[in-house]
Symmetry: C2
Subunit: 322 residues, 2 copies
């Protein structure tokens, strides 16, 4: 299982490379909720999401010989950009396998970091098989998006920094997809504050982690239909689940309209941009006011990679949210 | 003239009350400009703009007896909210004189901080006369928006913090309206770094400060037609101009479309929300790339108080920008 010392080692590797993102506070939010809230602004992280932490740590732990053969990732989202940027910073080659319908902005950003992008047809080809073939042909190292200890350790540095910066917390709510971020943050938080309660937050229509935690085993679902494009995972990873089952109190399933309201609050009151999957934890907190009254609560603002066009579509109802 | 010791004293008063806002960096921006840019994110300040610094300092320097008689300000914008919040934090009464057509959001926010709002007709009544009458009737202390040493000293703490946090800079660009922010930041920066070049940035259609600096005397203009609602001042203040004339290198006049592009860049690449008057300095930097190549440049992101509806109107051209 992931250990706190892994996270400390990752923090040392990330020092001076990742941004030490601020812990934002809002008196308006505190007054609304009757709680003291500290928000780890990972939307202000390099490449716009916490994923940089895990991607960089994973490339950094490779040997020089491994890095010389390059790294491979398959992702349509923030993990692609994280691995691409991490590889560039290490002077090694990254190959990213992305679906043919990935957003142009994300394709451009990944190529902008110098990665080779291999496009596959989401409906006809198996991305894992393509990546495996690349690994075998080139001897490249595969960097999985969440079910990978160096990724989990890197993500956990966010909670480590938050607690170092703001002191004791009664609770921590973390945005959750495959569980890399939640498991890393949980190990860090529980080591530093054994009595803290840690919660995940995921879209209601993709509540596989909530189901898994309650069933005591990993439950797989169909690709969920949700606006939260960073949390369309079908099942939590094995390594993350080991941590989550042991140490996480509960997982909140957040309806998409509540996530949109959290994005709106973040824009108008906190002046920060959140992508849908970056706003779940804030939405979960707002929806569960009673549970956190009078408490010191940490939450993650996990990412801000959304174009203005899509932001407008979500705020005006042009992209349906239900 | 404003002294550095005034700014140090203001910094001591603001410690633990104002947010120490982060200095944001963007590798994308650095690569675009060939410079190293450090952005003081005052949009993340309490009430969403640097104005809190000057408002709080001005209320704090009053005697208990003065505060017991309350404070008065006239403003349709961020200064109103700053004084209202500062008064609440000191447990004293604030009366804010606002025009009848002030945005509902700003009226609501000012009342939300517990201030009494007095509405006047912008076209029929003289707001200065109304405020003066209040001062005389109630014995309240008037807090002017920029032409006031305690306001200027408070605003200057932003540059003090920026330089403390990021080290030496070759240049600093500050958003400028009446000159309170620019003059305060200039005194701080020039004291700490005597060789730094300091610049103002104002809307092209409201370039009274540029005209004043070049003419060597204060030039007044008609209320400028610009999207930058925080910079529709008709003339720089006397106390700020004393500093600006002595120590500022130049003032950039920024066309509104460039300001909109800077707001777009801030949203999509930096994940932060800027109001038009908060984006001038970034726009000025982007428009004057050659001048700052190879340099370490500080800029202010001075405020983020814009509703989603107006942001969308500016981004989609529904509110004309020309």
């Amino acid at each position: 299982m992931l250990q706190f010392t892994d996270i400390q080692a990752a923090a040392a590797r990330l020092k001076g490379v990742a941004h030490r993102t601020p812990a934002l506070t809002s008196q308006t939010l505190n007054d609304m909720l009757g709680a003291q809230v500290f928000m780890k602004a990972e939307n202000l992280q390099r490449m716009g999401a916490f994923k940089f932490r895990g991607g960089y740590n994973s490339v950094n732990v490779l040997t020089d010989a491994q890095r010389a053969r390059g790294v491979v990732a398959f992702s349509s989202g923030n993990h692609a950009q994280a691995v691409a940027l991490a590889a560039r910073l290490h002077g090694c080659k990254a190959t990213i396998v992305m679906p043919h319908d990935a957003p142009a902005l994300k394709l451009a950003a990944t190529r902008g970091y110098g990665a080779e992008v291999i496009i596959y047809d989401r409906y006809k080809e198996d991305r894992a098989a393509i990546a495996t073939a690349l690994v075998e042909e080139r001897g490249a190292a595969l960097i999985p998006p969440f079910d990978h200890l160096p990724v989990m350790a890197g993500q956990g540095t966010a909670a480590l920094e938050l607690i170092e910066d703001v002191g004791p917390l009664d609770a921590l709510i973390v945005c959750a997809g495959g569980g890399g971020f939640l498991s890393g943050c949980t190990v860090a938080a529980k080591h530093l504050l054994p009595n803290i309660e840690v919660f995940g937050a995921e879209p209601e229509r993709g509540n596989d982690m909530q189901q898994s935690l309650r069933a005591g085993k990993i439950v797989s679902i169909e690709v969920p239909r949700t606006i939260c494009d960073g949390q369309q995972t079908q099942a939590v990873g094995k390594h993350p689940f080991e941590v989550i089952q042991a140490l996480v109190t509960d997982v909140f399933a957040v309806p998409d309209p509540a996530t949109v309201e959290a994005m709106r609050f973040a824009f108008e009151r906190m002046k920060v941009v959140l992508e849908p999957s970056g706003a779940n934890a804030l939405a979960a907190l707002m929806q569960n006011k009673k549970r956190f009254e009078g408490k010191r609560v940490g939450i993650t603002l996990s990412g801000g990679n959304i174009g203005i066009d899509r932001f407008i579509a979500l705020m005006t109802g042009v992209e349906p949210v239900d």
